[in-house]
């Protein structure tokens, strides 16, 4: 029991502490590829601290929804990330929810974020909210299908069960093609869900293009800090999914401190690698028009569907 | 059987009813309105004759009364009413036809054949004396009906209707040796009243539409 609690706390800590670093890393990679020096990878930490200490400016139009949202967003994202294993394959909260739960917990945050965007009554917020809504609605099916395709191989939809079995090759019946397709699909979903290029550009504040930034435009001080932190957390969560669900090797399968430490290290390497990949992609592609995003996500959906089909075809 | 050979008797009855049928054709072939009425009167005479003959031959006496009533109502009263109507309403004497005369005659011929063929299986039931009357009666009814369809004037429709009545009467008296007296009386009463009411209506029609050309009565439709 104590152990479990410790593990939960450890996992939460890992997520919370690593999340800003990933953001910083991506920014760094982009800067380098753009032949800039760029800020240090630890910059996001400083930003967060500064934001936490700043005063908060709240619009007179807003209601309690606006002030509650950052906390709800933070809580739901953290709750979701507690379901995805980091360094230990069997997380204590495994029984509490499967991948669908993860998706819907994130959706809970999105829901309130959309409300918050509308709450201040500025046109930007509304615009951001409506765009966020369409993007979110287009990503969900692809995400669920792709994870299902993988879940089938492990015969489970609970993340840590998948990870555990895959790590140990227990009753795993995996073929490369569906796995690969699902991976690509989920990667695209990641870019869309976490508001990266080519779907959204976290670095812009140009009202014609921004989505996520427009939604949170009215936030400042610690509210902004919480929102930023939560979105960083979300990004990390997705990268973790990509790494641990598709290639969980190295993760600890028993509660052995040394092994867990190794697992943690491996995980760090994996997510950093993915982060670099994200950064590279951000530099290689331009942001798509909003109505082109559909095609992009359509690809993800088709891929996940194909993954499913192939899974069965290769069975017969 | 007033001492007469059955076959002759039956032939006489047949002769009379045949004459009835012929007058029908005459009515169909007739263009002049008043002549139609006259022919109807003539037909009624034949009808009365047939009835009297049947009464004489069978000795069922109340048929005499029926014959008498026929003469009174159908030979005297109704034709007079109709004539009056024709006079007073100065109905144009030329009939207006839906169906022209030659085709009408052909159709009526067909109707007669039909009548015979339909009644043929039950003729055997009939009394030897009047075995063909039923078929003829049916034929008259059908022809009367056809007249009502083929002619446009209100008066001719009345004539057609009365011809149907004659056919019915023939069926009742000749074919079935007359219904019980009370029934006969009732029927006659109804016919009389019917004639009266029709008369009333033709008046009102004339007053309101100043014409009795029923083809003008097409206001009520969908």
């Amino acid at each position: 029991m104590i152990e479990s609690i410790a593990i939960v706390i450890g996992q939460a800590a890992a997520y919370l502490l690593v999340a800003p670093f990933i953001v910083g890393l991506i920014r760094k990679v982009k800067a380098r590829l753009q032949c800039r020096q760029g800020a240090g990878v630890l910059q996001p930490y400083y930003d967060l601290v500064k934001l936490f200490q700043k005063d908060v400016v709240v619009s007179t139009n807003t209601s309690w929804v606006f002030t509650a949202t950052p906390y709800i967003l933070f809580a739901s994202t953290l709750a979701a990330s507690l379901l995805a294993p980091v360094f230990l394959s069997q997380v204590p909260f495994n029984f509490a929810g499967d991948v669908i739960t993860v998706v819907y917990l994130l959706a809970l945050g999105t829901f309130f974020l959309i409300l918050a965007g509308l709450d201040a009554g500025s046109a930007f917020g509304g615009m951001g909210s409506s765009r966020e809504a369409i993007v979110a609605s287009l990503t969900e099916p692809a995400m669920i299908l792709s994870i299902f395709a993988v879940g089938l191989t492990a015969g489970s939809m609970n993340l840590s069960t998948i990870v555990h079995k895959t790590a140990l090759f227990q009753e795993i019946v995996t073929d490369p093609p569906p796995h690969l397709m699902a991976f690509v699909a989920l990667f695209i979903v990641t870019l869309a869900e976490t508001g990266r290029v080519p779907v959204d550009n976290p670095a812009t504040h140009l009202e014609l293009t921004m989505i996520h930034e427009a939604m949170v435009l009215e936030y400042s001080g610690r509210y902004l800090a919480l929102v930023e932190w939560a979105s960083a957390l979300k990004l990390l969560l997705f990268l973790t999914l990509l790494s641990n669900v598709f290639a969980p090797w190295g993760i600890a399968t028993e509660r052995d401190p040394a092994w867990m430490a190794v697992g943690l290290a491996v995980w760090l390497v994996k997510v950093s690698g993915l982060a670099v990949a994200v950064g590279v992609i951000e530099c290689m592609f331009a942001k798509l028009r909003l109505f082109r995003v559909t095609d992009f996500l359509g690809v993800a959906f088709i891929l996940s569907l194909l993954a499913l089909v192939f899974f069965y075809i290769l069975r017969v | 059987m007033g001492g007469m050979r059955p076959d002759i008797a039956s032939q006489m009855v047949d002769l009379c009813s045949a004459l009835l049928l012929l007058t029908c054709f005459a009515i169909i072939a007739q263009r002049r309105l008043s002549a139609c009425v006259d022919l109807f009167a003539l037909q009624s005479v034949f009808l009365a004759g047939t009835a009297a003959l049947v009464a004489f031959l069978t000795g069922i006496h109340h048929i005499y009364i029926a014959a008498l009533l026929t003469v009174i109502i159908k030979v005297v009263i109704i034709p007079r009413i109709l004539k009056k109507v024709i006079e007073r309403l100065n109905v144009t004497r030329e009939l207006v036809l839906n169906v022209n005369i030659p085709p009408s005659l052909l159709i009526c011929g067909a109707l007669v054949i039909l009548a015979f063929s339909i009644t043929q299986p039950i003729i055997s039931l009939g009394f030897l004396l009047t075995k063909d009357s039923l078929a003829i009666a049916l034929a008259i009814v059908l022809i009367g009906f056809f007249t009502m369809i083929a002619r446009k004037k209100a008066v001719t429709q009345v004539v057609g209707f009365l011809v149907i009545e004659n056919g019915l009467f023939l069926a009742a008296t000749a074919a079935a040796y007359g219904m019980p007296l009370i029934v006969e009386l009732g029927v006659f009463f109804d016919v009389l009243v019917a004639g009266l009411i029709i008369g009333i209506y033709t008046h009102r029609l004339q007053d309101t539409f100043d014409s009795v050309d029923t083809s003008k009565l097409t206001e009520l439709k969908e």
């Binding site: - | 299986p121 039931l125 069926a171 074919a175 079935a176 219904m179 029934v183 209506y201 309101t208 009565l217």
Partner: protein, 494 residues
């Protein structure tokens, strides 16, 4: 009980003759109310007696078995309410000066004679005398239809006269044919015309003659019943006649004509078997429903609208009899009964609208429920009943008939249901337009004196409708068993 039967039949005649002597409107009202009361009392005595299983026969002339009693029930009840209603309606017309007192008296005279003729026809024990009585009712009806001497009324009356006289003539020919067949068994005599004896010897009668006879009778009385394709006079007559007369035509005349057809059917079936008559009835019934459904759609005149709905319901009843079997026959009879109630209610309401608005155009009538709650409401309810909605009896009978139809063959049931649905939609779409919404014109409200009568008539009918729909009264229940036996079937009612 003989007294009751005689009283039932004679009362209208007496009242009719007396009403010519009535000097004032009040005296007329007294007379007719008394008349209505007597009718109801006598009727209930007769019905109760017959329900206990006895058959009332008086001499060789009158005979009231279950079927006749069933007709008496409808004739007396609807007759009584329509008398009440007529007092209101005609009273209003005369106070407004549309009708002189002379004609007001004449109207009631004719109205009562009409009722008399129908009651006689329903109870006389002689196919020929029945014909005479029905002819009599036709004559009085002819004058009643043309009562308002407008062009349209005259035209309608004329068409009614010609068509129904021709029809009735054909019916007489059929009657003669039956006599022609029966006198060979019973000899040239009154017996050869009596139901009693015809039922007795039916089996020995010549089949072909009876078949021919049935065709003539069906076409003949079918014309009066408004069975397609002989229905063409019906919308005109119902549309132009004064509302009480329309109610009588639809609620009683059609049922009486059906009664005649049924009588002959019950004899012919005994002789040649039901599978001769049933297909004919079925075909004509479906045809009627179809034609009615179509014409309900294009209707612009609310009285004609209800007229076509009458054609539809006669058709439904015929389908019931055509299907045969306990379910079909019961359904048909029950349908006749409920239709009499609902349709008379509908025409009462329509008449009130007519009095208020002075026209019959559906488009120009709206907001009845707002303007005249009772009238609008009862028109709405009556229409829903006619459309086949519970808690009204027509729903029950329609479901029963559909059930029977399905037994006869799936597709018939489907077609029938489809036609019913179309009729439902078209009828309701028209009546909702009138009943709901805001009234678009004020019109002339009727006097309270009028409203007293009309309202009571409406309320009585409505209560009867709901009652018979939710629960069939015991005496009716007792009537149905022998009635259905008349058609060689026994329906088991829990």
């Amino acid at each position: 009980m003989d007294v009751a039967l005689i009283g039932l039949i004679a009362m209208p005649l007496i009242a009719g003759l007396l009403s010519l002597a009535m000097r004032t409107r009040r005296s007329m009202e007294r007379l007719q109310c008394a008349h209505a009361a007597v009718l109801l009392v006598a009727m209930s005595v007769v019905v109760m007696n017959v329900a206990e299983g006895s058959v009332i026969t008086i001499g060789i002339l009158l005979r009231a078995d279950a079927l006749s009693a069933f007709l008496d029930l409808m004739l007396a009840f609807v007759g009584a309410t329509s008398l009440l209603y007529a007092l209101g309606y005609m009273g209003e017309e005369s106070t407004r000066g549309h009708v002189l007192h002379r004609r007001y008296r004449r109207f009631f005279c004719l109205f009562n004679l009409y009722l008399f003729a129908m009651l006689l026809a329903a109870n006389v024990d002689n196919i020929a005398l029945m014909w005479i009585a029905i002819e009599g009712s036709t004559l009085s009806a002819a004058l009643l239809i043309g009562f308002e001497r407008t062009k349209a009324a005259l035209e309608a009356g004329w068409k009614y006269i010609i068509l129904s006289f021709v029809g009735i003539a054909l019916a007489l020919f059929g009657t003669v044919l039956v006599y022609y067949a029966s006198e060979h068994v019973l000899g040239v005599s009154m017996e050869a015309l009596r139901w009693e004896d015809l039922y007795r010897v039916a089996a020995e009668l010549n089949p072909t003659a009876l078949k021919l006879a049935f065709v003539f009778v069906l076409v003949g009385y079918g014309t009066k019943a408004g069975v397609a394709p002989m229905h063409t006079w019906l919308p005109d007559a119902h549309g132009e006649a004064p509302a009480p007369v329309s109610a009588m035509l639809s609620g009683l005349m059609l049922n009486l004509a059906l009664y005649a057809v049924l009588r002959f059917k019950s004899i012919v079936d005994r002789a040649v078997g039901a599978d001769f008559t049933e297909p004919i009835l079925l075909g004509l019934g479906l045809l009627s429903v179809a034609i009615a459904a179509i014409f309900l759609m294009v209707q612009r005149d609310y009285k004609r609208l209800f007229a076509y709905s009458s054609i539809e319901h006669v058709g439904i009843a015929l389908v019931g009899f055509g299907i045969g079997g306990p379910v079909g026959v019961f359904g048909g009879l029950f349908h006749m009964f409920n239709h009499a109630l609902a349709k008379s209610t509908a025409f009462y309401a329509a008449g009130m609208v007519m009095l208020r608005r002075g026209h019959k155009t559906i488009e120009r009538v709206t907001g009845l429920v707002r303007q005249m709650p009772l009238v609008g409401g009862s028109m709405l309810l009556a229409t829903l009943a006619l459309a086949g909605m519970p808690p009204f009896g027509l729903f029950v009978s329609e479901v029963l008939i559909v059930t029977g139809a399905y037994g006869r063959g799936q597709w018939m049931a489907y077609v029938f249901l489809g036609l019913l649905a179309v009729a439902f939609a078209t009828l309701l779409s028209q009546v909702f337009r009138m009943a709901l919404g805001e009234p678009m014109e004020e019109g002339v409200p009727v006097t309270d004196r009028t409203r007293r009568f009309t309202a009571s008539a409406l309320v009585i009918n409505l209560t009867a409708m709901v009652y018979s729909g939710t629960h069939m009264p015991g005496f009716l229940h007792d009537l149905f068993l022998p009635m259905t036996r008349l058609f060689g079937v026994t329906v088991e009612i829990p």
